[in-house]
Amino acid sequence: MEMIRKRVVIIGGGPGGLAAACELHRKGIRDILVLEREHQLGGILRQCIHDGFGLTRFGQTLSGPEYADRFIDEVKKLGIECITDTTVIDITPDRVITSASASGLLQISADAIVLTMGCRERTRGALSIPGNRPAGVYTAGVAQAYINLKNIMVGRKAVILGSGDIGMIMARRLTLEGVKVVAVFEIMPYPSGLPRNVEQCLNDYGIPLYLSHTVTSINGKSRLESVTVSEVDASLKPIPGTEKEYECDTLILSVGLIPENELSLKAGIELDPRTRGPVVDEDYQTTTPGIFAAGNVLHVHDLVDFVSLEAENLARAVVAYLDGSLPSCGITIETDSSIGYTVPQHISGEKDITLSLRVRRPMKPCTLELWQDSKLLATKTLRKAIPAEMEQITLPVGQLVNTNSVKVVARNA
């Protein structure tokens, strides 16, 4: 079998991988290979034909394919090698990658590997929704792929479970294509997607959003015929007697994204149960030396711009790694129950670090605080914080008193 050597191999040619490739090239790395399983570069952006991408990264609003094209054009201009139609099937802890394509099996030994595989959708099975298993139940991303990439229509009358961003965007998309969207049901007492999507995708089209409701039965033996919806109590348990049946032929699930880390596990990388992505240090290095991760494979982002920015930061760290100048990161970042997670999970204490995090529940005016022992290292005041939006806070290195762990908390103001 063929075995080649590469300085850096990037797994996944979406907004993370391509941004990392371009930045690596700009920093002087030339021996780069991007591996992409699809026929075209761009990742999930190819099916996101709505606009709203790029405001942070490019200062203007773009559609998903337009945003992807910015990076695809750049990669082509720089002459970075990209192999498409190739699926990585294995990564070893000593950084040997095996990929499969119609032209054969390829093994690549890499000095550094960048993981930018994105995420997958949570499914009906993971939620264990009772009822039958008819045709007509789709996750939002799958429905989006059928409609926007394959030109295939999935149904005529839809109910949407979950107010994730893709679900709300699909509510609008389906409506524009003549599908009756009956309602969006969200189990939590607040929307799980961005406020702008509630406004632009639901309210603008008169699609009702029912909070604290969930689907408690899927009905229909061949094609979906209806769903039963119940109100839930404060502990998210369905309240008996509140069941209501909604006739529909399609159920769209937008109930969360899960970082796609099957390959990471093969490489011996430790995952954080909170992010379900790799545990990384301030340089995005995973627990397997020389393997780095950024974007949705690391933690699920709210905006693609932050995926690319994170991957560009990662690229600078990879350059330092190849120069042999990464510090060891012995300071652990901890959270209390107010915080869902932070990235990174470990820092060196040698430079200022921006932590990315999400609060666990919506908060009105509040402060984010960083503590080491009994010392307050930094605070940031927020007008509001919601789990749907990623927050960031900078830890100034000069404030650290020792190498004990740093704790992140969010407090109501």
């Binding site: 079998m1 399983r37 139609d85 699926t87 099937i89 095996t98 499969a100 394509s101 119609a102 032209s103 054969g104 099996l105 093994q107 997958r120 959708e121 499914t123 009906r124 099975g125 993971a126 264990s128 009772p130 009822g131 039958n132 298993r133 008819p134 045709a135 007509g136 996750t139 991303g141 799958v142 792929a145 059928y146 409609i147 990439l149 394959k150 030109n151 295939i152 229509m153 999935v154 149904g155 005529r156 294509e177 408690t216 039965s217 009905n219 033996k221 061949s222 094609r223 369905p238 032929d249 796609e260 099957e262």
Partner: protein
């Protein structure tokens, strides 16, 4: 077979009603003889009912009453399985099985089960202590257990499919979406009226499972009632697979319709929890309920405490075709009969667990009953060997490279979670039975079975079905008739 139409005149020697594991086994065994055989199936594929929806365990035979057909055929089926698995190229594994106990009463009941098994001729049964459990399956709870080394796990769909495909390769014809609605007997010939056509035959074999009492009544033997008893399952992520090398069962409650909620590995590395046991009204209600799911989590965790919610991939339900009602409980023996009032009909009713294990010996018994009145001449062209789809996953890199070299479609990974290639999906679509539904492809090559449940592969599978079968989007079916996947094109 695809596109086959039958004229009213077409005459069969044998019509088999139902293509579950028993119908497929009867078809395969009868194809050893020079006979014109047809199989009438109401669903669009083989193995859509009870045969597919179970724990996938090849039983040893210690749960069945000594002297019963169940006991005899279960032990026989288990003993002969190595050979048939080789011939049909199907995955299975002799894992052995533990029935775990905790209390002194449990110990007595395990001893009684062992005695039953010994009487039935089950090999190697032992009562083992905690130390042995630690060696066999350390994550399994239990103070002591009955250890059955001959129990195995298999993929019930692949087994049934292997039998059916082998039958088809030996000349048996399968007619799907043909539900039998009436049987008339005149001038020594059965006229089987279905939802699609009428078929004529000299013999009829009732292998209709949940519908067996209905068919039996059509044959003039109306005294049977099938009591559908649903059992629900959870399918767990292969991540937890390494913790469970073998099926681990509780001690069955004799009043219940099943063997109790157990945990079992599958040949593909998943873990199943189930089944619940609930008598229901219809024989077609495969829905899952919150109550049963809660019971499964409780029952499964009792034996395998490592189970976590994040491991759940999917639920499914099967229905046991029981001859015993809810108030009667327990098991009644298989009915396998040829009666004077219908001398050219073999009637099989109430074939429930251990029917999967016993399928081939049951088929042998069917043929024995037929040969009491007619001698069949051998089919000299009979070939017992059937080749399954060669999977890409779990091969060495060298073997994988070789597969791609021979067929570049092996290099195109269609399903990421389970590493299924385009070559396998195409082989599944081009199957000898001509099935082209989404679930038909899924059961043949495991697309959409992984943790993303088709998030990545299903658009590709749908496209391949359309290309290969020349279908429009509206014509792509998820499973049975009416289960259309799409309503058309966007524009």
């Amino acid at each position: 077979m695809k596109g086959v139409t039958v004229t009213m005149d077409e005459m069969f020697d044998v019509l088999i009603i139902g293509s579950g594991v028993v119908g497929s086994a009867v078809a395969r065994e009868l194809s050893r003889y020079s006979l014109k055989i047809g199989v009438l199936e109401k669903e669009p594929d083989v193995c859509c009912g009870t045969s597919a929806r179970n724990s996938g365990v090849l039983h040893a035979g210690f749960n069945n009453k000594p002297g019963s057909l169940m006991a005899r055929f279960c032990v026989e089926g288990n003993r002969g399985f190595d050979e048939v698995a080789r011939e049909l190229d199907i995955p299975y594994k002799r894992t052995g099985k533990l029935v775990v106990g905790f209390t002194p009463t449990d110990r007595e009941r395990l001893l009684a089960m062992k005695e039953t098994g010994d009487k039935n001729g089950v090999p190697g049964l032992e009562i083992v202590d905690r130390n042995r459990i630690n060696k066999l399956a350390p994550a399994v709870r239990g103070e002591f257990a009955l250890w059955s080394p001959s129990t195995a796990i298999l993929d019930p769909f692949q087994y049934t499919l292997g039998l059916a495909e082998n039958a088809a390769l030996n000349g048996v014809r399968f007619f799907f979406n043909n539900e039998v609605t009436g049987l008339e007997f005149s001038d020594g010939i059965y006229h089987a009226k279905t939802t699609k056509a009428t078929y004529r035959s000299r013999w009829v074999v009732n292998c209709a499972g949940l519908g067996s009492a209905k068919i039996s009544a059509m044959l003039g033997m109306g005294e049977y009632t099938i009591h559908p008893c649903r059992g629900e399952y959870f399918v767990l992520d292969p991540k937890i697979g390494p913790l469970l090398p073998l099926p681990a069962y509780p001690i069955p409650n004799p009043a219940e319709g099943g063997l109790g909620i157990h945990v079992t590995p599958t040949v593909d590395g998943n873990v199943l929890i189930g089944p619940s046991s609930e008598y229901i009204d219809g024989d077609d209600d495969y829905s899952c309920t919150q109550q049963a799911m809660d019971l499964l989590i409780k029952g499964g965790s009792k034996i395998l405490p490592a189970i976590k919610r994040e491991h759940f991939i999917r639920n499914f339900a099967g229905i046991r075709p029981k001859l015993t009602s809810e108030s009667e409980g327990g098991f009644r023996d298989f009915v396998i009969e040829r009666r004077p009032e219908a001398p050219h009909a073999v009637n099989l009713v109430g074939i429930e667990s251990p029917g999967l294990t016993a399928a081939l010996p049951i088929a042998g018994e069917v043929i024995r009953l037929m040969q009491q009145v007619e001698t069949f001449s051998p089919n000299h062209g009979f070939n017992p060997v059937r080749k399954g789809i060669t999977p890409f996953r779990n091969k060495t890199p060298e073997q994988q490279a070789e597969l791609i070299k021979e067929n570049p479609d092996y290099g195109e990974i269609v399903c990421r979670c389970e590493t299924i290639t385009k070559a396998e999906v195409l082989a599944a679509i081009r199957n000898p039975l001509g099935v082209d539904t989404v679930t038909g492809i899924k059961y043949r090559c495991r697309t959409m079975m992984g943790r993303c449940q088709g998030g990545y592969c299903q658009t590709r599978v749908a496209e391949l079905i359309m290309q290969e079968s020349h279908k429009t989007p509206e014509e792509v079916l998820y499973s049975r008739e009416g289960s259309y996947q799409f309503t058309g094109t966007v524009r």
